[in-house]
């Protein structure tokens, strides 16, 4: 049997008297340590053993007077007219976020997703993902016409590879696909730069006749 205090788990072996694994016989699995042993080793072992002490048991607890709400239905936040909403909702909820309202082509795509498809339809979510990518590329392009252009070097935080043991592959969560991440992040930028170069070259050649 495993000594739990030793850390890394070891195979349990068989628990039944006749060496047949417990899953194949009717015996109840035996606890490796008694409750007293566990209580001595683990701070607070068993203090929530009684489901009555667990705050989410039972699942539904009707107690509207304890939430702090002093309304039956909240005041409605101004500005709901025209705001996008799931068509599974009866109306724009009385409170809503106002960050980043819809705008431009990405806004039109997102508005279509909300207006046309319910949350049950995959098209709803895929259109929102397309809207996200259009939004991102629009923002990148607009940034190049601003005083604060996007900078993949600083905005990806990749410089921390130099300061936070980035060269050590051990312990990284991405060690199995470490080469893929820069490809996914940097690939579109390289492809965009390549397309721009080819386009400019084509224009220059056309102008030269």
């Amino acid at each position: 049997m495993t000594d739990p205090s030793s850390g890394t788990a070891r195979s349990a072996g068989t628990s039944s008297a006749d060496d047949i694994p417990i899953a194949y016989v009717p015996d109840r699995p035996q606890m490796r340590e008694t409750p007293e042993q566990l209580r001595a080793r683990i701070p607070g072992w068993g203090v929530d053993l009684d489901p009555a002490d667990r705050p989410s048991s039972p699942k539904l607890q009707y107690s509207p007077d304890t939430t702090g709400a002093h309304w039956r239905f909240p005041d409605r936040q101004p500005g709901a007219d025209g705001r996008e909403r799931s068509i599974e909702h009866a109306f724009v909820t009385p409170v809503f976020g106002t960050a980043q309202p819809l705008h431009g082509l990405s806004g039109a795509i997102r508005a279509l997703a909300y207006r046309r498809f319910s949350e049950a339809r995959l098209a709803h979510w895929l259109l929102l993902v397309v809207g996200d990518r259009v939004d991102a590329w629009g923002a990148h392009l607009r940034s190049f016409a601003s005083l604060h252009p996007d900078n993949p070097g600083t905005e990806t935080g990749v410089l921390s590879e130099l300061t936070a043991s980035g060269t050590a592959r051990s312990g990284r969560s991405d060690r199995r696909h470490q080469l893929l991440d820069p490809l996914i992040v940097g690939g579109p930028w390289v492809a965009g730069a390549g397309a721009a170069f080819l386009g400019v070259r084509k224009v220059v050649r056309a102008l030269r006749g």
Binding site: P43, S57, P74, E88, A99, E155, E161, R172
Partner: protein, 382 residues
């Protein structure tokens, strides 16, 4: 004010934004003193959550000082130090009236399948989050709680999501005395889920991950046995061997949509976005739990479908329980556990970054550089 802003997958920066304003009579504006990056923020950062808009400020784990209150706020005053649950909830809809605060129906016009969450895309309501100097907090009379004098700030910020979610995950497992509980993922949620499993009477707690620092933390902080899935050809077979071929009584899935462990699934889901993330951990849970057992899912998944082995779940007669955590419902009991030292959230904190360095913070946390388990963010106004 200074705020983290999203610039597209894998890219973000700190920008000047307008300070949020009162938009509803029960709003408060909170000056953020301490925030955290949650593992689920990485799903946004990696572009996995639909309707994540450029300019969005992430952050649903934060504490701070009330800076302004709306005209109908009764329970808070300017100057109060508060911890804010990651859920935005009204306290009065059908769901809130029954304790399902994470499923509030009055705060998210963009979707009915998920409630309101700070800084978690427009799919959860379009609210900017707390990785900033200031944040708008709707329903100030319902969500926030004044931080008890005895509570450490780092415990307080972790109780707003990660710790509460771990504790909730153990409850969803319906653990009975002597149960063998397997926790998938030794991140912040998994560590607290492992600690909490003991409180509910588990006889064995086994934590599975593949990052050495996290497995070590599971042994020292959560007194758990550990398995490194990289050391086993098939971790499901190992789970069966560990449990005398029975399978675990309860599996708590504390990983979510970017699970590693299967190269093709990870690349197809988390990297190429051909499905709504990677269901590797969920499928390990289904196959590793015993027949008739219970799976608790507190790892975060988005609305796009996944290739989940539902037939196995059916044929094994499993009970699947899951939800976003109704955080405030957990707090009174959790406060006792933290005060008594039964739960030790701040033991998991490994990194503290100024807000201005948040791009590096996300990359370090995403790649798990430097043994990163839980990074905190310090806004400049704090």
């Amino acid at each position: 004010m200074r705020a983290m802003t999203y610039r597209g997958p894998y890219k973000l920066r700190v920008e000047e934004k307008d300070r949020p304003r009162i938009e509803h009579p029960n709003d408060a504006i909170v000056r953020v003193q301490l925030a955290a990056i949650c593992g689920s923020d990485l799903h946004l950062y990696h572009g996995l959550m639909p309707d994540t808009r450029i300019g969005h400020t992430f952050g649903h784990e934060f504490i701070g000082v009330v800076d302004e209150v709306g005209s109908s706020v009764e329970n808070l005053q300017v100057g109060d130090r508060v911890m804010v649950p990651f859920n935005i909830f009204c306290g009065s809809c059908w769901f809130c009236a029954r304790g399902l605060f994470s499923n509030c129906h009055n705060v998210n016009p963009n979707a009915t399948a998920v409630g309101g969450i700070y800084g978690y895309s427009h799919t959860t309501g379009g609210y900017d989050g707390g990785q900033a100097e200031y944040v708008r907090v709707p329903f100030a009379d319902v969500g926030p709680v004044k931080i008890p004098d005895w509570m450490h700030d780092e415990d307080a910020v972790l109780l707003t999501d990660a710790a509460a979610t771990g504790y909730f995950g153990a409850q969803l497992g319906d653990i009975t005395e002597g149960d063998t509980v397997v926790v998938l993922g030794a991140g912040p949620v998994g560590l607290i889920a492992a600690q909490s499993s003991w409180l509910m009477g588990a006889g064995r707690v086994i934590v599975i991950d593949h990052l050495p620092e996290r497995l070590e933390k599971a042994r020292t902080m959560a007194h758990a046995e550990t398995l490194d899935y990289d050391e086993h050809d098939d971790i499901v077979v190992e789970m069966k061997k560990q449990t005398d071929h029975l399978g675990a009584d309860v599996v708590i899935e504390a990983v979510g949509a970017e699970a590693d462990g299967n190269f093709l699934q990870h690349v197809a889901g988390a990297k190429l976005k051909l499905q709504g993330g990677s269901p590797v951990a969920l499928n390990w849970a289904i196959d590793g739990v015993r027949k008739g057992g219970t799976i608790s899912v507190v790892g975060a998944y988005g609305p796009i479908p996944n290739a989940v082995k539902f037939g196995d779940a059916l044929n094994k007669g499993l009970t699947l329980r899951m939800n976003q955590t109704p955080v405030k419902r957990q707090w009174p009991r959790m406060f006792e556990h933290v005060r008594n030292g039964h739960l030790t959230p701040r033991d998991m904190v490994t990194h503290r970054f100024p807000l201005e360095d948040i791009s590096e913070a996300y990359h370090v946390f995403s790649a798990k550089l430097d043994g990163c388990i839980k990074p905190l963010i310090l806004p400049s106004a704090s």
